[in-house]
Symmetry: C2
Subunit: 314 residues, 2 copies
């Protein structure tokens, strides 16, 4: 990836599929933070590394606040959904991979839902990519997709950082039906949950500006209360601790309570429609997000391996 | 309308239905600009006034640049679509109306499309409302809706002004299908037409900030390239002449060339779907836009008269 493209592509790398992550204050060769051992992709394996690979929950390149937030969100999802999820069955070289020169690292964590559950899958990722300027592009993300037993929204968070003082935050419950045709759905999941208050809170901060994805499809996929913002500040740590973290945890709680554990009755014809829409959304997102970026960052062979593994659930 | 509500309600008065208009630099009792005679609601009638009422194309309260832009857009629509449109059949007291105290004036201009045409209707409006502070709320709007013979997007522009130095601009081709499920539609009408370049152009100006409608439904109705901005400047006239005007004319040209005169094949089952979605969109918009505001501004009797007339086409 060329530095000049970061501005346009920083979020197209990961939005919605939301699979890759890391942080840019530190170089790729010398992570400065201790690895976490709180979380493992598969309960029976070492939580930390597969061989010399760094796993999803290690978040090796990110600041303490950033890492704490991602670990907290992933652990919350893991705990609340534990009875619904299969272990992560990704091959080790998809759970963690890098390019030939070692300037780009990434980790993936994917757990599919049991058929009897409302969960399609949950997906966590980080990506770290050293930039020619000496900085780095770092993306951390976590998403959860529901299956067609419910039409409730999915969950998505991504933190995208291309400089020590600038971060893009994408936080949303993307809807799974056409909101124009379904005002009751809009009321249930977006108005009654008062999700917009979080966007409004951030909007009042001088360091925060609205962010527009370069992909029109991504703009169409998100909800009317989506938080898509760029945060520009010397004090990113404080911003994460004081604003981003509490809001992200609150939005995840809303998603768990109202969406994942909400009771929705979906008829058979609506299920067919949902599956069609979900399939389109997921395949377009893979195409936009990873189709061109993964080969460029990691080479065609690794890209193919990762994409094949993802396509099995996507 | 209370001044304190202008911030939240300034666009909910008119968005999407987009029917009402005027301008706030001048008081409601002494319009300073000559009326236009270029346009008439019905070709056989006086273009200017019905009795002592001011008609849509008069734009009596707005600045020269603002008026010129609205007249240009409405004339362009009228000329290009002339063979498709019926005359305006609204009763005179709906074409122009005011409240008992004369502090609120409005005009409506509505022409339905011939059944053989792709046009459902075009609707123009202005609203002027004196505020207790001595200023005024002024809204001008113009929209064009297509019928179910095509699924191409509609056209919408609104200029909403609640102070001499602040204006909200809403300019969009609202889609008529679920974009998540129809990426080809997104490509045809939004990517290939390069509509986002206009939003990007405005986004680069320091006087321009993104604007978020207080209505989540309105946010859901607009397209990914929608221009929803607040312009804050002492030089609004210059801003309209240099930026808003040229962009609005270009977007209308795109709509006419690609949407109104574009060839789309729509199957019978898709038509049913389109009608259902269009009906929902229009009725929700009336409810959001006018349901509570018209009675407050003009009294229940006038509000009922106007709403009844609109519901015949909406």
């Amino acid at each position: 990836m060329h530095t000049s493209e970061v501005g346009n592509n920083e979020e197209s790398m990961a939005t919605i599929t939301g699979h890759l992550a890391s942080f840019s204050l530190w170089s790729s060769s010398s992570p400065k933070f201790p690895n976490s051992s709180r979380f493992s992709c598969s309960a029976s394996k070492s939580p930390l590394q597969h061989g010399n690979r760094m796993a999803y929950m290690d978040f090796p390149y990110v600041s303490p606040s950033h890492k704490d937030l991602m670990v907290d969100l992933a652990s919350t999802l893991d705990t609340r959904l534990s009875s619904f999820l299969n272990p992560c069955n990704l091959p080790p070289d998809v759970q963690s991979y890098q390019n030939d020169t070692g300037t780009a690292h990434a980790a993936l964590h994917l757990r599919s839902g049991l058929h009897s559950s409302p969960i399609d899958f949950m997906l966590g990722s980080w990506l770290h990519c050293a930039l020619p300027t000496g900085g780095a592009l770092n993306i951390t993300s976590l998403s959860a997709y529901l299956n067609s037993s419910t039409d409730a929204p999915n969950f998505l968070i991504e933190l995208i950082q291309s400089s020590p003082t600038s971060m893009v935050l994408i936080l949303d419950l993307p809807p799974r039906v056409d909101l124009v045709l379904n005002p009751d759905y809009l009321k249930t999941f977006y108005q009654d949950t008062q999700l917009d208050q979080h966007r409004q809170h951030l909007d009042k901060l001088s360091e925060v500006k609205p962010y527009f994805s370069s992909s029109l499809y991504i703009r169409a996929v998100v909800s009317p209360t989506a938080i898509l913002v760029r945060i520009e500040t010397e004090r990113l740590e404080e911003m994460i601790e004081t604003h981003v973290g509490p809001i992200a945890k609150e939005v995840l709680k809303t998603w768990l309570d109202v969406c994942a554990f909400g009771e929705r009755v979906v008829g058979e014809s609506e299920r067919d429609w949902l599956r069609k829409r979900d399939d389109m959304s997921k395949s377009k997102t893979i195409e936009i997000d990873l189709g061109s970026n993964l080969p460029r960052l990691f080479g065609q062979e690794t890209a193919n391996r990762v994409l094949e593994a993802l396509k099995e659930v996507f």
